[in-house]
């Protein structure tokens, strides 16, 4: 349907916002109905999955600081041994604006070119009404200060205070480590988003 240029390349299909009803297609149970036997990315962590059980959660905030309560949040991560991967998908709550995943702490992933491994991290991807493109970001673990200090991606962020936007604070709930990271789409404390 499209003709490649003289180098045999095709231009990328442009992005469009996921809109307010993204839940219908990607997390239909949140839209209010069941249609597929298993919604993609909705299965809980397999009981036998090796690794330390953790919970990660946060809010998504707009430029005014208001909650974004209709966002899609996807997560792609390494398993505990550093191999890929585990995939989860959810939405921010219509009521509380919270997103959360129950997973295992990922292992270290090799960096490019044989450099020291990257600090353990989760890859997050957001889509929502008002976002013209899906946004990639990462979550690092606040209790891994030494590894984070050596991480090539965090170190690549020019402003040290912006690095903190990708680091989740650790608390504990019912004996499970909980890592909390708000995602600020714009405005004060804007999260670092990645062009990957």
């Amino acid at each position: 349907m499209f003709t490649p240029d003289s180098l045999g390349r095709l231009p990328e299909t442009p992005s469009q916002t996921a809109g307010p009803y993204v839940h219908i297609g990607l997390i239909p149970r949140q839209a209010g109905f069941e249609i597929f036997a298993d919604d993609v990315g909705a299965a809980p962590l397999p009981p036998g999955e090796p690794g330390e059980r953790i919970r990660v959660e946060g809010r998504v905030l707009d430029a005014t600081g208001a909650l974004v309560r209709d966002a899609l949040v996807e997560m792609w991560q390494a398993k505990a041994d550093g191999s890929h991967g585990l995939f989860f998908r959810t939405g921010t709550s219509f009521e509380t604006g919270l997103w959360s995943f129950d997973t295992v702490r990922p292992g270290a992933v090799p960096a490019r070119g044989g450099a020291a491994p990257m600090a353990p991290h989760l890859c997050l991807w957001l889509a929502a009404r008002g976002l013209n493109r899906g946004m990639h970001t990462r979550l690092y673990f606040g209790d891994r200060e030494e590894a984070n200090a050596a991480d090539p991606v965090l170190r690549f962020i020019e402003q040290p205070n912006r690095r903190a936007t990708l680091v989740a604070a650790r608390t504990e709930r019912d004996g499970v480590p909980v890592f909390t990271m708000d995602i600020r789409l714009a405005g004060d404390g804007e999260t670092v988003f990645l062009d990957v």
Partner: protein, 239 residues
């Protein structure tokens, strides 16, 4: 060995803040993106097999029937998922969602004054074959007004979500229908500055693919970022 991904051509996409689409002003990031050479975290991605799909998952005409058939113009939408090197992307998960024929979504937050169709869910999914092909059957979605400018309407459109082989290729977009007079007026489509890029979101009527006397067909191809081979460069390690 895992190939790397050609960097995104940002000029094909809408910028994050586009005042004609008001919500983007509240939500669009202001800071530049941090550009990275991909690591394994972005060059890998979840894969979904054909086995994970239900038999009716790509048939929106039948996958939510409750004692009757959906109202509307039956259509087939088909095409290919290709990469930037014009190579087919096999095994790509393609998900789609849409309003019903009267422009109403089956969603707890949609309050448009138009009927919900009891026999239409409005979502489906499929996995591309070895040639990168996908297809599904549905009814043509209706236009509907939305809260932006007070006189703004969305042209008929279907939302698409696509996974390539790398998480970096993740894409959500919208497909429009050739000949829709609302297209030039759409503030969402017009967030894309490049006119040629906008036309690539418009499906073509494909009479040859119709089911004669029964169902019309539209063709739309999707292009994800391509893989590149690395020439005279250190390879990624660890894969």
């Amino acid at each position: 060995m895992r190939d790397e991904i050609i960097p995104s051509d940002h000029g094909q996409h809408p910028p994050p803040v586009t005042p004609i689409y008001k919500t983007s002003v509240f939500r669009g990031p202001r800071m530049p993106l941090l550009s990275l050479n991909g690591s394994l975290s972005e060059l890998t991605g979840p894969r979904f097999g054909h086995g994970a799909m239900g038999a009716l998952d790509n048939d929106l005409y039948r996958n939510f029937q409750h004692g009757g058939e959906p109202i509307g113009e039956r259509i087939i939408v088909h095409g290919r998922v290709l990469d930037g090197n014009a190579k087919p992307v096999a095994g790509a998960l393609v998900e789609f969602w849409q309003a019903n024929a009267s422009g109403r979504y089956r969603h707890v937050n949609d309050r448009f004054e138009a009927p919900v169709d009891p026999n239409f869910g409005g979502c489906g999914r499929t996995v591309t074959d070895d040639e990168g092909r996908y297809h599904f059957r549905t009814v043509k979605p209706g236009a509907y007004p939305y809260r932006n400018g007070i006189g703004d309407w969305r042209p008929s459109h279907i939302h698409f979500s696509v996974f390539g082989t790398a998480f970096a290729q993740r894409l959500i977009t919208q497909m429009y229908f050739e000949g829709d007079p609302l297209i030039p007026h759409d503030s969402i489509l017009n967030t894309i500055p490049d006119a040629a890029a906008r036309t690539r979101l418009v499906a073509k009527l494909d009479l040859a693919a119709q089911v004669p006397q029964h169902t019309l067909a539209y063709r739309w191809d999707i292009v994800l970022r391509g893989h590149r081979s690395t020439l005279f460069e250190n390879r990624l390690e660890g894969n």
